[in-house]
């Protein structure tokens, strides 16, 4: 259980950060830091247990059948990463306290940062690949929020969008890869997958799974050619860059590479793809880092280059290379975080990051300069610093390679070349910024930053030195445990000594140093050479591409969704024809084996009426009232048909719905002209007749084919279990409130949402109100005729009595909450019509929105109540009671559920009808702004 708290604590920290924002900046920072610090302490307390068992696991099953469990797994690799995430995270919190200005919202920043921390911890601690993926996407989203923290800057918004798009797209590829991997290993559990490495590598889906997963890894870790998002993410505040690009975001890809190393690595495909991508990224990043004049741009490309180096090491496939990769992860995180922080200090104190303008800062901030210079030396791989050690290991590994056959000598040469560039940009960071003359035209006079802003840099630089001088003591155990987790337990022999004697790797380092200095002092040539290429801005190209996509989508949408209901109907019906046509042509026998029912005169008459009314609706469609009357005939015949074929519930519902619908349409008709002009051209009429005829024919065929065949449905089950299981003899009602109660709950929720939607549509509407009919006659002055008003008022109790009766008997006889609700609604609507809105307002002042909410809530709570009795959601209960006078009767929890249905239906129907009716009055709904 301790494990789950580790990602959970920073999540709580996000809430705390948002809540304590008004306490002041320092207190907010302390409050925010408390929970990650606690999480770090938890991690450290788990170390003894970890060194005994190798890995710790805790699982809560959620949907075991789908392999979905909330599962956390803690091993050496997770330890390394959690320490980096939490440790550097804490330093970043401290640093950001002084970096952010008064204007920036501290609470928002810390909340995003904590959210991001949670996501990262979730990735490294996940014991289930799907869960890992979820956190993976969460890092994309939270990093989007962080990068666009200064959302008023267009480049921040663009950079954030680019990062989200690239990493999000990679995340989708990763999901596909994970799903394939899960199918191969028959589990998403990390332990299972790590143990079935051989099975995975030999599977025929292996190449697809590997490439998809690598697509996710490479986009996240900014590997060539997906690296372009990283430099644009530099628009973020520097603490964010320091965090995202040293220990976290971009390392997530590397982490996954290390995590799945035992399962995926070791094949030729892995080797070729991973190592070549790493090598190209290493070179490209190092080269472009030299061309940047922006301090953070330099660091961004150097990050890309170092990530390439780590990827290359994993790609090489030897055990020592994997150890070197893990070691470099640690080293890169420490020196890159401190460098970003130093760059942030410089930016903060100078007001610029342009290296052509900031020179000679040694005089103004010697202390910061010293720290930054040590960190930059570590990046260059100067001896006695941590970067030197892992770079030596890297050089040594490149020498061991033989995979290019006779061309294998190229790998160490290219690695040295990358080393040259890397030294060159490190020297530039040191010499160009801190020496090289005087500052040029800076907006501020630089000076040392606040004391505590330097503390995180000091700690990190101190670590660089300690690791560099005493590697075995400081980092040895952590490296051991993390590397053995990557390699699946077997560690190769390696030594972390500073001095290995005069050997080739040392020579390569020396060459890199000398070459780097040479390149730096002749950098003008490099700039001149690069000037010949056209400038290319990834962010701008991305925006152009996005705009094109949006335009195309807009055009498609305009074509599809032009606001014409006829058009939508046409498209849907055409689709229906397309989908049904092939299936129906394959059906050889139209008539099934079932015997026909005898034809009787009432059915024939009803059928004829249906046809005539249907045709009448179409023919008189331009005279709306007549069309509406025809339509109501259709509805009534349908409800008669239900009654005829023993579906009294349906008949009742159909009748009630029909009444409500006709009232609704009548109200709507008031705002429409009574006659419509002729709109359709003859050609269009012909087309519509063809399509309608075709659809009618198809539906008729389906109905006929279906009804002449024996239908084996599950209704027998309901008939058998309705009384014993649901306690009611009305099977339809028992299905609605018990067997399929969850469906009903969903349906009434949808009904409520639809009603609220209609209310909102009406709220903004200003309609033309005709003062008379089409022939110029004014409306009658007698708006509320007395006879109607009095009689309808006296009818109300009777109508309510009927609806209560229908409601109560619903469980055993035709009826139920839905029908009763409609009856009540119709009775109330009659009052609205007879007396007017003002009269009703004084007597029935109910907010129908609340009524809907109450109804849904009652139904849902009835379902929840079964949890109290340790039963699944919506289990119903019933029993029989004897009451004097009334006699034997039944009580069922389904009745409370049905009450919720009843209230929702009344609320929704009245919300729609009453508000549509109110459109003509002063009580019409208005939007908030207009209040």
């Amino acid at each position: 259980m301790t494990l789950m708290w580790i990602p959970l604590l920073p999540l709580l920290g996000a809430v705390i950060a948002a809540l304590t924002a008004h306490w002041g900046r320092t207190r907010c920072a302390w409050a925010t830091a408390a929970l990650p610090a606690l999480a770090l302490a938890l991690i450290l307390s788990l170390i003894p247990q970890l060194s005994e068992t190798g890995s710790i696991k805790s699982t809560i099953s959620w949907i075991p059948a789908l392999g979905l469990n909330l599962s956390f797994r803690f091993d050496g690799l997770a330890l390394l990463f959690s320490v980096l995430i939490l440790g550097i995270g804490l330093l970043v919190i401290l640093y950001a306290r002084y970096y952010l200005s008064e204007k920036d919202s501290m609470g928002r920043f810390y909340a995003y940062l904590m959210l991001f921390m949670t996501a990262m911890l979730g990735i490294v601690l996940s014991g289930n690949l799907l869960q890992l993926w979820l956190f993976w996407e969460l890092t994309s989203i939270s990093s989007y929020l962080l990068i666009s923290f200064w959302w008023h800057k267009p480049e921040a918004r663009r950079g954030a969008r680019l990062a989200l798009t690239v990493t999000g797209a990679g995340g989708l590829a990763l999901l596909a890869g994970i799903l394939l991997l899960g199918r191969i290993a028959a589990s998403f559990d990390l332990d299972v997958i790590l143990q079935s490495g051989d099975l995975i590598r030999e599977h025929r889906w292996y190449p697809a799974a590997l490439l998809l997963i690598l697509a996710g890894v490479f986009t996240k870790s900014a590997q060539f050619p997906f690296h372009s998002w990283l430099p644009h993410a530099m628009a973020a505040p520097t603490p964010v860059s320091a965090y995202l690009h040293s220990a976290t975001m971009v390392k997530a890809g590397i982490f996954l590479l290390a995590r799945l190393y035992p399962a995926l690595a070791g094949t030729e495909l892995w080797f070729i793809v991973v190592s070549s991508t790493g090598l190209i990224t290493l070179l490209v990043g190092a080269y472009f880092a030299n061309l940047k004049h922006d301090l953070k741009g330099l660091l961004a490309y150097s990050t890309i280059s170092h990530l390439g180096l780590i990827t290359l090491l994993f790609g090489l496939g030897t055990k020592l290379a994997a150890v070197a990769a893990v070691f470099h992860i640690i080293n890169h995180a420490t020196f890159k975080a401190s460098l970003f922080m130093a760059a942030g200090i410089i930016d903060h104190e100078c007001g610029s990051r342009d290296m052509r303008r900031i020179n000679g800062l040694w005089k103004y901030m010697p202390y910061t300069a010293a720290l930054a210079m040590i960190a930059a030396s570590a990046m260059a791989g100067v001896p006695l610093l941590n970067g030197f050690l892992s770079k030596e290991m890297f050089f040594a590994e490149t020498l061991e390679q033989e995979f290019l056959g006779s061309l294998s000598w190229m790998i160490p040469v290219l690695a040295t070349l990358a080393g040259v560039f890397s030294v060159a940009y490190s020297v530039r960071f040191i010499h160009d910024v801190f020496f090289n003359g005087e500052p040029i035209n800076l907006p501020k006079t630089p000076h040392e930053p606040p004391r505590y802003m330097k503390v995180p840099v000091e700690i990190l630089v101190g670590l660089c030195l300690l690791v560099g001088i005493l590697p075995n003591i400081v980092v040895g155990p952590l490296l051991n445990i993390a590397s053995s987790a990557v390699l699946g337990g077997e560690l190769p022999d390696y030594s972390l000594a500073i001095w290995h004697g005069f050997n080739l790797p040392l020579l390569m380092s020396l060459v890199a140093m000398a070459g780097g200095l040479f390149v730096y002092f002749h950098r003008a040539h490099l700039f001149r050479f690069q000037k010949q290429f056209p400038e290319w801005n990834a962010s701008e190209s991305f925006e152009m591409a996005m705009r094109r996509v949006q335009d195309a989508a807009g055009k498609l949408l305009d074509w599809l969704e032009n606001g014409s209901l006829q058009r939508y109907l046409l498209l849907m019906l055409m689709l229906l024809i397309l989908m049904l046509w092939p299936a129906l042509t394959e059906l050889t026998h139209l008539t099934g084996k079932r015997a026909h029912l005898p034809v009787d005169i009432p059915s024939l008459v009803a059928g004829g009426l249906l046809v005539v009314a249907g045709l009448g609706t179409v023919i008189y469609n331009r005279q709306r009232l007549i069309a509406l009357l025809m339509l109501s005939v259709v509805g009534l015949v349908v409800s008669l048909a239900f009654a005829r074929f023993s579906a009294p519930d349906l008949a009742l519902t159909q009748l009630a719905v029909e009444v409500v619908t006709i009232i609704l349409l009548m109200l709507a008709l008031f705002f429409l002209p009574q006659k419509t002009p002729k709109e359709s051209s003859p050609r269009r009429i012909l087309r519509d007749i063809c399509i309608a005829g075709l659809i009618g024919g198809i539906i008729g065929t389906i109905c006929y084919a279906l009804m002449t065949r024996e239908l084996h449905s599950i209704s027998d089950f309901f008939l058998a279990n309705s009384k014993t299981g649901g306690g009611g003899t009305n099977v339809v009602n028992v299905i609605l409130v018990d067997f399929r109660g969850f469906d009903t709950l969903g349906e009434i929720t949808v009904l409520g949402i639809a009603a609220l939607g209609i209310y909102n549509l009406l709220a903004g509407l200003r309609l033309f109100m005709p003062s008379g009919d089409s022939e110029g006659r004014q409306w009658a002055l007698d708006r509320h005729p007395m006879i109607l008003a009095v009689i309808s008022q006296s009818l109300l109790p009777l109508a309510l009595l009927v609806s209560v009766f229908i409601f109560l008997r619903g469980h055993n006889l035709p009826g139920g909450g839905f029908i009763a609700g409609l009856v009540t609604a119709v009775a109330l609507i009659l009052q609205y019509m007879a007396h007017g809105v003002d009269w009703m307002k004084t007597r029935l002042d109910i907010a129908y929105h609340r009524m809907i909410a109450c109804g849904v809530l009652i139904s849902a709570l009835t379902g929840v109540a079964s949890w109290l009795f340790q039963r699944p959601f919506l289990t119903s209960w019933f029993d029989h009671f004897h009451w004097p006078l009334v006699g034997e009767f039944e009580l069922a929890s389904a009745m409370v559920f049905d009450l919720g249905v009843y209230i929702t239906v009344v609320g929704a129907t009245l919300l729609i009808l009453a508000n549509l009716g109110q459109m003509t009055t002063s009580e019409r709904p208005v939007t908030k702004e207009q209040d």
């Binding site: 009658a780 002055l781 007698d782 009689i791 009818l795």
Partner: protein, 116 residues
């Protein structure tokens, strides 16, 4: 079922049917809107009323206890049919529908006195 019950039920059904038929014929044949209005209201009140009494007798006999649903339906019909006829007549007057000579009562037509 004893013969006398069958007889009573059939009698009510027949009478009710005749009223409904007459109502329909009247609706088709009477000269103007106002007279036509009378026919279906008679059909619903008297015709359907008879049918309901028939139904009541039948279900009382078959269930063994007094069936009162039909009473309720009859009450509803008796209350609502005149009101709807009244409303129809009112709107007919408002629309100044053509009427036969003997039904003309121009003084009933509501004159728009002022504009609202």
């Amino acid at each position: 079922m004893p013969f006398w019950i069958e007889l009573i039920v059939s009698l009510f059904l027949l009478v009710g049917g005749v009223f409904v038929l007459l109502g329909s014929v009247g609706l088709a044949r009477l000269p103007d809107f106002y007279t036509r209005l009378h026919a279906p209201t008679k059909a619903t009140t008297l015709g359907v009323g008879c049918l309901l009494i028939g139904s009541m007798v039948l279900s009382t006999w078959s269930s063994g206890s007094l069936s009162i649903y039909e009473v309720l339906i009859t009450i509803f019909l008796l209350i609502t049919a005149p009101v709807s006829a009244h409303m129809l007549a009112k709107s007919g007057l408002h629309h100044r529908l053509e009427h036969a000579k003997q039904t003309g009562h121009p003084e009933l037509i509501e004159e728009p006195l002022h504009k609202e």
